[in-house]
Amino acid sequence: MSALLEIENLRVAFNTRHGEVTALDSVSLTVNAGETLGVVGESGCGKSITALSVMGLIPSPPGRIAGGAIRLAGEDLTRVSEARMRALRGAELAMIFQEPMTSLNPVFTVGDQIAEAIMLHQKVGHAQAFRDAVALLDRVGIPSPDRRARDYPHQLSGGMRQRVMIAMAVSCRPRVLIADEPTTALDVTVQAQIFDLLNEIQRDFGAAIILITHDMGAISEMADRVAVMYAGRVIEEADADDVLDHPQHPYTRGLISCIPALGKGDTELREIPGVVPPLHRLGAGCAFAERCAHRNGRCDSGKPLLVNHGHHPAACHAVQEGRI
């Protein structure tokens, strides 16, 4: 069976004042219906660019899709017309952004904004669309939804705004829902509510969810499968349990062991020294080499490929050579 969404060897380039840089380099990912793929990495690893590529929202210029394919149920999104993309976006593909206040229009009521999304994709009038919007607000757990539908975004709390965004995103029952750091701006008790809601929505609608996050804890609670990204490449990919219990790549190991856990205190946290290198300074070797404790000559000369060296796929020379 082929996957619902299939990203194959995707390359995205941006023109910058340092010349053309490769923001995504041979990224391949798949997501099945009803499955949650967690994409994890530090800022600047290419997580959000991957999401925007799928949505057809890479600003061009300066960006362009320089190679590869993104197939939704077999249809290559990198080759479809802008009109077709507009029809898919919102109906088949939907996205929830990090900061709900900047993604909602401040001068329209939230009910009208959800109704607008419904009317764009379904042949219904405003009255029906507004009724649907109220039902959706009810579904995402907003109390007194018929009154709240007439509120403006600034009258809602951060958690409620994110619920509105989710209501809008699922209004046309999309097959793929991308959530880009959906809870970063929210308090932890509200984050838990949003995670629970996303899981319920998935059970109801059977949508594939791509959850983009920097938080391994969120991955553990939400993801069925995990892709770890670093400097524009996928460096490890497997079922969540495999990645969390048997991390292969030194970067993944570092990400897991540098989290201060709730279950223990006092022990020194393992650090990943240094920072993610800027894209224009990536050399011929492994992008993680300068932060890696297992670096040798081979790491500087060639980029490791994402292949299975035993447990599950990881892009690391040291893993391949059995040095770790």
């Binding site: 969120a218 553990s220 201060p260 709730l262």
Partner: protein, 323 residues
């Protein structure tokens, strides 16, 4: 162990704009009768969600926000009673690290000048001594002396937070107030800064008042933890007691909401304690317990009577139905 800081019944009020032309000016109590003690060489974590008053409580403690009432006994002396000149002298013992390492460093100053400035202001040492101390501090926080003449934008977020820490240490403070010092940083960089703070505490005998919304971070750094909700401390305990045997339903909900590697979707994890809604507005707090609207255990008495902090094992908890 000697008590460094003893805060008693600290209350902070903000007067809001008049409602209507002749209406009353509502008063918001951001911090309501908060008391805590910090011993020399220990770290007290204050956790809570946004709007819980954790930052305001810490700022009022070091007089960056004016307190309405209460006492802040620091080394035997009530800071709230000091005049401006005396308070300025005390400031060398109390320093601060901010959340955002981008906006808390002057973009037009070289980092050597930024780190030296507190010594200039307090007239500590000769110019040579100050320069030497800046170099020492740079090494202490893990930066290289050849970076001294650079500007803040030439450093990464984690390095900037190291510069903030170096600046805070110039005056040899006894108390460091850390306001969400790692929440603006990537996880891999957070670990670097948390390890540095732990090392400095051990090496220099510093005491921390550590504000954070991240329970994992607090567990890592702090010896004691106070949980705030709507301006009040609802539970306070030594670290292990708070994390292993939380007594307040809000503490339990916070622990259950924090994502953790031990909770797996694959193993059918379901959150044990769920709370709904958002924290209520501090303008009209509920008459009884502040948590009553979201509490799974709420009874009639919770709506009427405000619970007081009472001992329960090692914990002190403000709840009618703890445990």
């Amino acid at each position: 162990m000697s008590v460094l800081l003893d805060v008693q019944d600290l209350t902070v009020q903000f007067t809001l704009p008049r409602q209507g032309l002749f209406g009353p000016r509502p008063v918001l109590e951001a911090v309501r009768q908060v008391s805590f003690r910090l011993e020399q060489g220990r770290a007290l974590g204050i956790v809570g969600e946004s709007g819980s008053g954790k930052t305001t409580a810490a700022m009022a403690t070091i007089r960056l926000v004016e307190a309405a009432s209460g006492k802040v006994i620091f080394q035997g002396e009530d800071l709230l009673q000091l005049d401006d000149a005396a308070m300025r002298q005390r400031r060398r013992d109390v320093q601060l690290i901010f959340q955002d390492p981008y906006s808390s460093l002057n973009p037009r100053a070289r980092v050597a000048d930024i780190v030296r400035e507190p010594m200039d202001l307090m007239e500590i040492g000769t110019p040579e001594e100050r320069r030497a101390r800046v170099t020492d501090l740079f090494r202490l926080v893990g930066l290289r002396p050849d970076q001294l003449s650079l500007f803040p934008h030439q450093f990464s977020g984690g390095q900037r937070q190291r510069i903030s820490i170096a600046r805070a240490l110039t005056t040899n403070p006894k108390l460091l107030v850390c306001d969400e010092p790692v929440s603006a940083l990537d996880v891999a960089i957070q670990a670097q800064i948390l390890n540095l703070l732990a090392r400095l505490k051990a090496e220099l005998g510093l005491s921390y008042l550590f504000i954070s919304h991240d329970l994992g971070v607090v567990r890592h750094v702090c010896d004691d933890v106070a949980v705030m909700y709507l301006g009040k401390i609802v539970e306070m305990a030594p670290r292990e007691a708070l994390f292993d045997t939380p007594q307040h339903p809000y503490t339990q909900a916070l622990l259950s909401a924090a994502p953790s590697l031990a909770r797996r979707k694959s193993r059918g994890y379901v959150r044990p304690v769920k709370i709904s809604g958002d924290p209520p507005s501090p303008i009209n707090p509920p008459k009884g317990c502040a948590f009553v609207e979201r509490c799974p255990k709420a009874q009639d008495i919770c709506r009427r009577v405000q619970p007081l902090l009472e001992s329960r094992g090692q914990n002190r908890v403000a709840c009618h139905f703890p445990g």
